[in-house]
């Protein structure tokens, strides 16, 4: 049975910039097909600047100039019906946000007003989404939700600066999930937190997902976090998903040369053997290499790699790879 709740079809989202009167185009999301399931945690990993945040903006229907969806679609399944995000009015989008889909952007610790107590932010938020909500009901809802998530009620009386960074991040997630959204989109929610606090945030995300049985799309640099929380992982390189598989396959049997570098570069306790990083530098999205965008850095590159982008080959059910070494591929088919 198809449980896809969030789908992209041949999605292209570019930054269209004006640089000294000349148009510059950054192909940050370049032909991406995803089929994200209900009740799943989908992780996205890839180098800095490869387009992860941009992809999330498109998924969350938060595309604003200079970013533009050039072609392709993003669809949500709402109450059994596929809804094309491009057909939504701004009012419909506002309504969906937080009730259906919650987006926690990168570096979003600042969603709180620094001079307002946490409870005031909660109140504003509840009032703007629940029309008949009286003040007391709103607080009851906030209290109940925090208790459910194991966060102390007393934080409602605190100002944002009085909370530690990790607590602020957890309160942000609590706020984003108050209305029990079906999809949560998190961009680096644990980056720059220390490991103990990070573990607390991961624990909270897992708890929320278990309770709501909803979908989480999570971007993080930290492969350890992915290993701990994701059900499936998509590896992104230069605006494209180049490999997608269940988490244990990505770590245990990575098939794309870029993924292999990524996994093999991870240090392990008790093992000091030298680890190599990916050679060379990431390509510019304004001037992508021809063919497979990884070819200038790939030790296995063949002639065809320079000429043509490989399509996806299904190496196993649920495991697809875009690399000429693995197979010829069927161009642009979602798993």
């Amino acid at each position: 049975m198809d449980n896809t709740i969030l789908r992209t079809e041949a999605l292209h989202a570019y930054y269209v910039l004006d640089v000294y009167g000349k148009q510059k185009i950054l192909k940050a999301v370049n032909e991406v097909d995803l089929a994200i399931q209900e009740d799943e945690i989908y992780g996205i990993a890839g180098e800095s600047g490869c387009g992860k945040t941009t992809l999330l903006k498109a998924l969350a229907a938060a595309v604003e100039p200079p970013l533009r969806v050039m072609s392709g679609r993003v669809t949500y399944r709402i109450a059994g019906e596929e809804v094309d995000v491009a057909t939504l009015t701004p009012e419909e989008k506002r309504k969906l946000r937080l009730e259906y889909i919650a987006y926690v952007p990168q570096g979003s610790m600042s969603v709180f007003n620094p001079v307002a107590r946490i409870k005031d932010t909660y109140r504003d938020f509840i009032e703007s989404h629940i029309s008949a909500g009286s003040k007391t009901e709103a607080f009851d809802l906030a209290r109940e939700h925090l208790t459910e998530l194991g966060l102390p009620i007393k934080i409602l009386d605190a100002y944002p600066h009085q909370l530690s960074g990790g607590m602020r991040q957890r309160v942000t997630i609590a706020l984003a999930t108050l209305l029990k959204p079906r999809i949560i989109i998190g961009d680096e929610p644990t980056t720059a937190l220390d490991v103990v606090v990070q573990r607390g945030v991961v624990q909270l995300l897992k708890d929320v997902q278990r309770k709501l049985q909803n979908t989480i799309v999570l971007v993080t640099h930290d492969m350890g976090v992915h290993a701990n929380i994701a059900d499936r992982i998509g590896i992104m390189y230069a605006g494209k998903i180049v490999e997608e598989a269940p988490t244990d396959k990505i770590f245990g049997a990575p098939a794309h040369p870029y993924t292999q570098y990524l996994i093999n570069s991870l240090p392990k306790f008790g093992d000091k053997t030298p680890r190599e990083s990916v050679p060379g530098s990431p390509p510019s999205l304004a001037n992508l290499p021809s063919g497979c965008p990884f070819h200038p850095r790939c030790p296995h590159a063949k002639d065809i790699c320079k000429q043509e982008m490989p399509g996806f080959t299904q190496v196993e059910p649920k495991h697809r790879v875009a690399c000429w070494l693995v197979g010829e591929g069927e161009h642009g088919k979602a798993a």
């Binding site: 800095s48 909370l163 530690s164 990070q198 573990r199 290993a227 306790f269 000091k272 530098s281």
Partner: protein, 319 residues
Amino acid sequence: MEKLLEVENLTKTFTLGSVLSRVKITAVDNVSFYIKPAEIFALAGESGCGKTTTARIIMGFEHATSGAIIHSGKKEAKNEKVWFTEGIQAIFQDPFSTFNPLRQVERYFFETIENYKLAKTKQEAIARIDAKLRLVGLSYEDLAGKYPSEFSGGQLQRISIARALLTDPQLIIADEPVSMVDASLRMSIVNLFKKLRDELGVSVLYITHDLATAYYVCDRIAIMFRGDIVEMGTVEQVLMAPKHPYTQLLRASIPEADTTRRWKEEIRLADTEQDEYLRQGCRFAGRCPRVMDICRTTPPPDFEVEGAQVACHLYADAG
């Protein structure tokens, strides 16, 4: 034993809050450690535990409330900014904020050369810049005439390291240099530290949350908690057989890139930093699974346990 840098009983207090509700926080509390020549020394611990403050005092950006910094056997003169010199250079967490986006990156190199009078002619300057960039896998040509936005985060971080190397420092202070970069770039940066240590004899004070890379490149490590060093020793001692309950929690909280080892039990976090800073006795007592009565009243002294230094009452009989 030769010591390149010694930090002796360093203490720094900050006063927070308004006139009416003033609280004093001891951000760094009587911290002592040393760094040997050609050694990578890690300083790790929760956010807000005092790592950056310690680094800023070593660099002379901040004055200690008490204690001393001894560099190559010389003591810092009180309230004199002398340590941020050619001998000690620094690189910071966010490569994007290190460079002004409107300024060509090479300007920073020429500026350092001028400040320290490292070259007589432009040719000489370029040769020096090129030599340092080559150590980090780049060249002057890669950089000439370019602005920060034309580089990736990892490249900028390597560029900041090259700039720090211009003065041939004996010590590089790197405050969370990898926390904003992806796994592969992390490796390229810590591999570079290794190369600097092994080939040029440079020491590095590596401040980080990333204990896996700390294990991979460091010789010794100190774990800080709320202003105190709670455990210190070789990375083998501290990370492979942690003794202090906080180090044990820290070690167990590192997400391993291994799907068979997901976390099972839940943990408790502190609500605010202040509560723990103001705690009497052991500052970890509120969360420690092995807390005893004495922990709530008396700060634990340092004990030597199997070669490592551990500040915890559990080891009162060991030392």
